[in-house]
């Protein structure tokens, strides 16, 4: 027996699977790939930051580490430009997790507010290191082997890899949410001192969550590197990425499962479309910032919660109306 909610999930998944088969224009499938990468990353980010309330504004560290791991390994292992590159995507995720451990050990020593500041600072250290060190290729970045596929099929393998990452992140997020570990993260969000008093090993739980959430983000970065064939420090360690991921999750609804997926779906596809349409980076910054301000100031709970609130308010009003009518009749 299928619940109505699960039917919607399956329909959404089928639609996503069918999309590149129906829409073959590479412009739109490219938008699809970026959107899916962001859906996966936002979901994974939300699994730690949304559940625990520790807002990580340095998630591009994981993304960049994934991308650089992919580029460096492809080069040093002499991986030919074919499907073999895709096996390195999980390796990029693992590298992001490994890097997340020391970062977490430092950043998670402090409480929420300072944590946000430290993640921003650590992010810039990574970006500057990628620019300054020679093994990363400096500002000219790194090249990946080109994949000589047929032009018409080019996007499909990337699209389905991105979809796989997103599905993985969503399933992991659900599993965490339903587990004891997920409850501990939520307890930390609600009251960290009380959670500690009740025996939650808060530091270990935070560190585990932080590290786990780096995995899918690192895979997203690795896929991005293969897809574009070239990476630059300022595009993989991108401050806009940090803020976009947070914005998408907050826009959709922080700490919910649907929120980050929906937020990324709406915002990233719009953003890609606007970039293709107007190709003016500065104008995009202004629109993006302004949109962000509107969302944070007027719908701080996110659209998922906003809409369900609105629905329940409407239902409440209807009940209230009915009560008035009944009251008058009696």
């Amino acid at each position: 027996m299928l619940k109505a909610r699960n039917v919607w999930w399956i329909l959404a998944l089928v639609a996503l699977v069918l999309f590149p088969l129906i829409e073959t224009n590479p412009t739109y499938t490219t938008i699809g790939i970026f959107t899916l990468i962001f859906m996966g990353c936002a979901t994974s980010w939300n699994m730690f930051s949304g559940y625990s309330g520790y807002i990580n504004l340095g998630s591009a560290v994981s993304y960049g580490v994934g991308a650089y791991t992919m580029a460096l390994l492809a080069d040093h292992l002499h991986v030919p430009g074919n499907g073999d590159l895709f096996w390195l995507i999980p390796v990029g995720g693992l590298a992001a997790m490994i890097v997340a451990v020391p970062v977490g050990l430092v950043a998670l020593r402090v409480r929420r507010h300072t944590f946000v500041v430290i993640t921003i600072a650590i992010f810039f250290v990574f970006q500057l290191s990628a620019i300054n060190f020679s093994f990363t290729g400096g500002t000219s970045g790194l090249q990946l082997p080109l994949i000589p596929w047929l032009e018409t099929n080019y996007n499909k393998p990337f699209y389905y890899s991105a979809l796989a990452i997103t599905v993985f992140a969503a399933l992991l997020s659900v599993a965490v949410r339903r587990s004891r570990f997920g409850l501990q993260l939520l307890a930390i969000r609600d009251d960290e001192d009380r959670a500690a008093g009740l025996g939650v090993k808060v530091f270990a739980v935070k560190l585990a969550g932080f590290t786990m959430s780096a995995f899918a983000v690192g895979m997203g970065g690795a896929l991005y590197a293969v897809f574009l064939g070239q990476i630059y420090p300022q595009f993989v360690f991108d401050p806009i990425f940090d803020i976009s991921i947070a914005l998408m999750s907050i826009f959709g609804g922080l700490g919910t499962l649907t929120g980050p997926l929906l937020g990324a779906l709406v915002l990233e596809s719009t953003q890609q479309y606007l970039t293709i349409r107007f190709s003016n980076g500065s104008l995009y910054l202004i629109v993006f910032g302004a949109l962000f301000l509107v969302i944070v100031l007027f719908m701080p709970q996110g659209i998922v919660v906003y809409l369900s609130d609105w629905r329940s308010r409407r239902a409440a009003r209807r009940v209230e109306g009915a009560r008035v009518v009944v009251g008058e009749a009696s």
Partner: protein, 294 residues
């Protein structure tokens, strides 16, 4: 590498560090009074630098004279930002929301600056920018000395305002405990708004010196804000003295590392110091340990 070079880098570090200390003081004052982390501080510095640039290029106004216009302008910008956006943020996630809102504000300003001034790097010019004075065999650029003097004057003014005036007493009361301050009749809202204005206004001076010592464009704000954030975390969030000490200390160490091991390592030194200090004192050098409030 020799002794003179090391001494030189220490002196340079103290002189430029004082300007960073000034900018960080604004940031930490805002955090201490309002519990808001103003991530837009970096772009405000650049905005101040561009204002000085526009005044000196288009109207021929001297950089230091121009401060009489740019400081009040940024004060007003700060007040407007606080009134329109920040005062609307409420609820338990206030600090995090403030970071996101100021981040968004900085994106918007960055986009506008890119359109108005283009993304090409510019520098501020004046007769004292490229000259230096020789003291005991060390060449000190005039602009470093002037910047140091300006930072000292403004920090002194801030000190007098905080410790010798009635308004300063209200600010210090709000810094230590907002609720009690409100209970004894201090208008915490007004204090917050003015403090945000002051915290932003100091960036006009910082931005002018920054623009005269570095080539900059709108994205230089990222480099600035990362340094300023590290400085206030190290000094202890909300501690003004901490911001002063950490500002001068960090920039001096950065200059030293750059001279001794090369500029590539100076950014990492920044990070390693942060790690070391936070491992020993999570609340920063001069911060109060976090206590449970509610």
């Amino acid at each position: 590498m020799n002794g003179t070079a090391v001494l030189h880098s220490i002196i340079d570090g103290v002189l430029t560090g004082s300007v960073y200390a000034l900018m960080a003081t604004g940031l930490t004052l805002i955090f201490g009074v309002m519990n808001i982390i103003n991530v837009a501080q970096g772009i405000f510095v650049i905005l101040g630098a561009y204002l000085s640039y526009a005044l000196s290029v288009h109207l021929g106004i001297d950089l230091f004279v121009g401060l009489a216009i740019t400081i009040p302008t940024l004060f007003v910008v700060g007040i407007v930002v606080e009134r329109v956006f920040l005062s609307r943020i409420k609820g338990p996630e206030r600090v995090v929301m403030s970071i996101l809102v100021t981040y968004a504000i900085s994106l918007v300003i960055e986009g506008v600056l890119n359109i108005v001034f283009s993304a090409n790097y510019v520098e501020l010019h004046a007769w004292y920018v490229n000259r230096s004075v020789r003291v005991f065999g060390i060449y000190l650029p005039y602009i470093y000395l002037l910047g140091f003097a300006l930072a000292v004057v403004l920090l002194g003014a801030l000190y007098i305002m905080l410790y010798r005036t009635r308004f300063g007493a209200s600010v210090r009361a709000s810094l230590s405990d907002q609720t009690s301050a409100a209970l004894v009749g201090i208008n915490v809202r007004r204090v917050s708004t003015v403090c945000f204005g002051l915290g932003v206004a100091v960036t006009a001076a910082g931005g002018m010196i920054y623009g005269a010592t570095n080539a900059f464009n709108a994205s230089s704000s990222y480099d600035l804000i990362s340094r300023l954030l590290v400085i206030i975390v190290l000094g202890g969030m909300g501690s003004i003295g901490g911001a002063l000490v950490a500002g001068i200390m960090m920039i001096t160490i950065e200059d030293l590392v750059s001279v001794v091991w090369g500029p590539v390592w100076s950014n990492l030194a920044f990070f390693l110091i942060l790690v070391a200090v936070l491992s020993l004192r999570p609340q920063g050098l001069f911060g109060k340990p976090s206590v449970r409030v509610a």
